[in-house]
């Protein structure tokens, strides 16, 4: 599904963030990418979303070279990826309802479908009563739940969570991880980038460990070892 082929990323003038990265994530897998802060995890996520281009090597999504995709092709790839981020990346000027409705509009869904689906999704994540609130009026946990709802509403092929629990308390962290497991159980590919040892060890899934921009470990049922 996602393939990194000898990917190196150097930020000018000479900061090497990723060095000759090679790995593949298969459809339906749950992969944790772990490493200290600054190890290069977020750059990996940006490369998958086409927000950065590799200095050398290639990143493939469903067989397509992302760094060669532009315009409508790149937008199409991004629509197939549900993103969950540490800073939530919600649309601050839109309400809870509109945040979810917007991604459905992006996908080209009809108004009738949006009107019927969004309240259901908000009900599931427990934000139905806050549908007219703006993101800044929600707690951190609520904002992250909204981000998850937004990531899932279009049924993406892959869900990428980049430090999704970084700003959350233990209760909300547990909630988010539980939701990610549920998403995986429904057959989706999940990529979790984190530096939370406890989460990774509890999951008992595949773990790719990055240190100083290099993959130092890739284990099928891995643990957080740094």
């Amino acid at each position: 599904m996602i393939k990194f082929q000898n990917v190196t990323k150097i930020y000018p003038p000479d900061t090497t963030v990723l060095h000759d990265i090679c790995f593949e994530v298969k459809e339906g897998e749950f992969v944790s990418i772990v490493g200290k802060s600054g190890a290069g995890k977020t750059t990996l996520v940006k490369l998958i979303l086409g927000l950065e281009e590799p200095t050398s090597g290639s990143v493939f999504f469903a067989g397509k070279n992302i760094s060669e995709a532009y315009g409508a092709d790149l937008q199409e790839i991004r629509r197939k990826i549900g993103g969950i981020y540490q800073d939530y990346k919600l649309l601050p000027a839109k309400t809870v309802y509109e945040n979810v409705a917007y991604v459905m509009a992006v996908e080209g869904k009809e108004n009738e479908e949006i009107i019927s689906q969004v309240p259901k999704v908000l009900e599931v994540i427990g934000l139905a009563e806050k549908s007219n609130n703006f993101p800044k009026e929600l707690s951190g946990g609520e904002q992250q739940r909204l981000a998850i709802a937004r990531a899932l509403v279009n049924h993406p092929d892959v869900v990428i969570a980049d430090e999704p629990t970084g700003n959350l308390d233990p209760y909300n962290t547990y909630e988010v991880i539980r939701l990610l497991q549920k998403i995986h159980q429904s057959g989706k590919t999940v990529i979790l980038s984190t530096h939370d040892r406890e989460i990774v060890n509890k999951l008992g899934k595949r773990v790719i460990t990055i240190e100083n921009g290099r993959v130092v470990r890739d284990e099928e049922k891995g643990r957080f070892i740094i």
């Binding site: 086409g50 937008q75 993103g83 990346k89 919600l90 992006v106 996908e107």
Partner: protein
């Protein structure tokens, strides 16, 4: 397509309403710009009127010797018209007419009338009063015709040579006023355009993160860009309406006062006569500038 169009209009109006403060700031700046440009248009109208008024007051007077026959004077008139067909006006004033004009003008002043009686005969000379289209070149041409050797026997004197310096000075001043007005106008318009552009840039810059998020979720360029461009058009449309109403009110109320200072120039009439041009200028600077600024700024943030 229609659904998408409705959506971008919906997004634009919602954003416009929610960012009231910034929307008002943008409309204010656009209105000021449009008023400035409209003001420059009116200034040009006033300056053209003044220049024309001054030019109309400058004439050439050719005085003919007392014994010159009327047919010879009319020959000179024909000659001038032949050499300078686009001349504004040329009027023959006979000796009798000149005398009558003088008497009429000074009918209440006994000293002038007494001195006329003492002279005994009509002291006035027949003349041709010429008003050109305003260029110094045409003045020269008329003067050259009048100074031809064949007319030496008829013409007593030509007033042009005496006024030449003044005329040239006036033309130089009016031409400089036009040049200066044009340069000042261009500079002011440039400053205004840059202020509008930067105001809209600041507004869109506050949505920088939002644009980045829209890109990440896979929104098409059109879906991101269009609401900002429509917002720019809304700013412009409101600023245009405000500006047109202000211009209407200002010209209506200033018109009588200005007519006292500049007789013959009716500001409100000038506004009505040039209404379409003013609408075009205001629409161009309002809606056009609003749309263009939004388009350029959003494009900058879409470069991924």
């Amino acid at each position: 397509m229609l659904t998408n169009l409705k959506r971008v209009f919906h997004f634009a109006f919602i954003d416009f309403y929610r960012n009231k403060g910034m929307s008002v700031a943008a409309i204010f700046v656009l209105t000021i710009t449009m008023l400035l440009v409209t003001g420059l248009f009116f200034m040009r109208g006033v300056s053209n009127f003044l220049v024309e008024t001054i030019q109309n007051k400058i004439d050439i007077a050719a005085y003919f010797k007392a014994d010159t026959e009327e047919k010879d004077i009319l020959t000179v008139k024909e000659e001038i018209l032949k050499d300078s067909p686009d001349i504004k006006s040329i009027k023959y004033v006979s000796r009798e007419e000149a005398l009558n004009d003088f008497i009429e003008k000074h009918k209440d002043n006994n000293t002038f009338l007494k001195s006329l009686t003492e002279v005994g005969e009509n002291p006035f000379l027949a003349s041709l009063n010429i008003i050109t289209n305003g260029s110094t070149a045409q003045y020269e041409q008329v003067s050259n015709t009048l100074q031809k050797d064949e007319y030496d026997t008829f013409i007593e004197k030509v007033d042009f040579s005496e006024k030449k310096g003044t005329i040239e000075k006036i033309f130089s001043i009016t031409s400089n006023i036009n040049k200066f007005g044009l340069i000042l106008g261009a500079v002011l318009v440039l400053v205004a355009v840059s202020v509008v552009f930067n105001t809209i840039k600041l507004i869109i810059e506050s949505s920088k993160d939002e644009i980045a998020t829209m890109k990440i979720v896979g929104a098409s360029t059109w879906l991101i860009k269009a609401p900002f461009i429509i917002q720019g058009a809304i700013f412009g449309a409101i600023a245009f309406t405000t500006c047109l109403l202000v211009t209407l009110a200002v010209t209506y109320f200033l018109s009588p006062g200005l007519s006292v200072i500049m007789p013959g120039f009716i500001l409100f009439e000038y506004f009505i006569l040039n209404l379409w041009m003013i609408i075009l200028i205001q629409l161009g600077f309002g809606v056009g500038l609003g749309i263009a600024s939004s388009f350029i700024v959003v494009r900058k943030y879409l470069k991924v």
